[in-house]
């Protein structure tokens, strides 16, 4: 199972036929395993990593440190849920260290994001402080180098 997941993590669009060859199992087994992984919510979704900068579309990403006052019984979970339910919020992590939640927000403009933080995020009960950092340039994401200049420099044939 681990091998299948590793292969899909690298390229989720690999045909079942190829996966079957590489894993030395039948195509049917590949499909069955994938269906089970999806059903068990081990595979949550198949994403595409996009370099938006190249599309000309403007998106702004902000990484926000959020401090909270934990609540009786539910700790941070209830406030986290109130935050992650917003569509604008792409990622939420509970953190150790100087702040409690790391929240990643995407918007169309800085104004857009600032507005969201001021009116929606900072005003949630239990949120005591927010510190926003705007992302300037991605170099590497999810193990992929955004503009990788390394290429195959080998001779076309060698013995």
């Amino acid at each position: 199972m681990r091998e299948l997941l590793e292969l899909l993590k690298h390229d989720a669009r690999r045909p079942a036929k190829e996966l079957a060859s590489m894993l030395n199992i039948s195509e049917y087994e590949v499909e069955e395993k994938m269906a089970k992984l999806e059903k068990d919510k081990i595979i949550l979704s198949y994403n595409t990593l996009i370099n938006w900068d190249k599309t000309g579309e403007n998106t702004v990403t902000s990484i926000i440190e959020v401090n909270l006052t934990p609540q009786r019984e539910v700790g941070f979970d209830a406030i986290a849920e109130r935050i992650y339910r917003f569509d604008e919020v792409r990622t939420v992590y509970l953190m150790s260290g100087n702040f409690d939640l790391l929240v990643i927000i995407e918007g169309k403009s800085m104004q857009d994001v600032a507005n969201f933080v001021a009116t929606r995020l900072a005003t949630i009960e239990g949120v005591t402080q927010t510190r926003s950092h705007f992302l300037l340039k991605p170099y590497k994401k999810d193990g992929i180098i955004i503009e990788d200049k390394e290429k195959d420099r080998r001779l076309v044939m060698s013995i």
């Binding site: 060859s21 590489m22 894993l23 044939m157 060698s158």
Partner: protein, 389 residues
Amino acid sequence: MTNWNDRISPVVKSVPPSGIRKFFDIASEMEDVISLGVGEPDFVTPWSIRESCVYGLEQGYTSYTANRGLMELREEICFMHKRRFDLDYDPKTDVLVTVGVSEALDIAMRTILSPGDEILIPEPCYVSYKACATLAGGIPVPVPAKAENDFRITPDDLEPHVSPKTKALLIGYPNNPTGAILSKEDLEAIARFAVKHDLIVISDEIYGDLTYGDTKHVCFAGLPEMKDRTILLNGFSKAYAMTGWRIGYALSNPDIIAAMTKIHQYTMLCAPITAQIAAVEALRHGEKYMRKMVSEYDKRRRLIYDGLQKAGLKCFEPKGAFYIFPDITSTGLSSEEFAEKILMQEHVALVPGNAFGECGEGFVRCSYATSIEQISEALARIEHFVNHL
């Protein structure tokens, strides 16, 4: 007019030129060629190894090193052999760091072969083996490995080729070009054969880290009583994707290493210090990156093995290195015809099997050290080619 060709030594003249020149020239001109003809990893050297070399340069490490190589590198090489194969080599006397296994191979031959000495060389094999033996003044005696034995060599194959002049045996497993490996039992049989005929064994284990499935590489020198009789050659090119660094080593008894060091000090002086620093890092921290690359090759191996069979080419499952050696006799073409036609018609470059010895005729070598996407496309083209002959 001077005929310069007459001035060239007959020994050098007797060595044939590379068997891929013709294909290389054609393939180099093609835009959309997919090459399964490359004998080196498609990975770039892991960053931590590259970074250690850059740091070394910044610190001013630009001088010669000891002839035998940096002591810390020799120590790491010995630690690794102790850890992995329980072999005790002394970094002071039993190790020589060389400019790739190529240099080690050359000086090992020059160290042990006198004019007229014969060395048994199982084929198909890496192209340098025979040439190095000839250039060293020895006589290479090719021993065909049998396709029906999955190209494993046995004492029965070797025995008919032994003569009173046989001095050494050269084995290269995991094998380039076949992907064959020798099991512990196979190697033990060869060890008995070496003792029986009192042969020195040169064991080129450059692909030793690249074995797949449940197969574990067995180091020939680690077999009982084989350590002193063996000149063990290894390096960093294949396992750590460091071909261009040119760094390898030889391990043997102190007498042989001292003799090899003599040639090395007069001809090479030392291996590049930059590559030696990088090799230290590879041995100290590189294993996890190496394992990851090996697991990548393994997936590609299974893909290409499956794909070639589906394309109608018979082949045995390679257990090591990153080559597969399909039988193309069903197509009615010779190895060279197959390689040339598939290059011209389908733009797939591969190496004819006879480049690795006469018994490689009827086979071609495909390297799977290339991306899954390229392998899939190459397999589709090979299948199309085979079905439209």
